[in-house]
Symmetry: C2
Subunit: 147 residues, 2 copies
């Protein structure tokens, strides 16, 4: 085993914990019946409002062809719709449908409640530690642009 500094050790544990947390929660999303990439894109549409395909692809950190196909699927499932942009007829405006919005909210509620149930077993102090850590982690990640 290579030696790790104190901070590296923390980094390692943090990474591992994040993986396990998401693995645990992801099971809840599968209940929606919507595949993960689609659910994630739909979430951006619901919370970010209508946007172009390129914007959506950027938000999801995938290439336009990948997003084009995801939107195809969302459309055929009746969860989102495409319309051509009036000002620039090359572009499309993608938006969540009523159905897509409703299903997303249901799924989100399920996921959040599931995770909250776990957190409810902790003490008030422990939950405060998590809240503080979230702040700290976000602060640390925000530095990524200038490093």
């Amino acid at each position: 085993m290579a030696k790790l500094t104190e901070i590296e050790n923390l980094a390692d544990r943090l990474h591992s914990t994040a993986i396990h947390l998401l693995r645990l929660v992801r099971v809840q999303d599968s209940v929606t019946g919507i595949a993960p990439a689609r659910l994630s894109a739909l979430s951006v549409l619901v919370f970010g409002g209508p946007m172009s395909l390129n914007q959506l692809a950027q938000a999801e950190q995938v290439r336009p062809p990948t997003m084009s196909r995801i939107v195809d699927a969302l459309e055929s499932e009746g969860l989102a719709r495409r319309t051509t942009d009036k000002r620039d007829r090359r572009a499309v405006v993608i938006e969540a449908t009523e159905k897509g919005t409703a299903i997303l909210w249901q799924g989100r509620k399920r996921r959040v409640k599931f995770l909250a149930k776990h957190l409810s077993h902790l003490s008030e102090v422990e939950r405060q530690q998590i809240a503080d850590a979230i702040q700290a982690i976000q602060k640390a990640m925000a530095k990524s642009k200038r490093d």
Copy 2:
């Protein structure tokens, strides 16, 4: 917007933070040139030692056929090897090769150092908050079996 309780709000922020953290770090892994599922399985082999295909599949939470193909790829890349179990000739013992172990350690070091660099911008207090939160989160997740 639906109303969320205090705990649900914490759950939501925790989820989102975990997603962003992993997204940030994953870029480092791509440098290894090993595809994510393969890297993850290799990691289990390196840290968990030789094991059967079923054990490895369970550890990675995938079905045996999925793992069988991942092991095929690891073998063809010279990162792991299969041998038949002496005691039970139906079973295989999968282990990381020297090369696989070395590459995994390099990658892990890169990832950990990258994350540690971010954490190093924080104060000692903030890092302690993260350490405490990791403990709390793991405790909360451990309850999942009995709920």
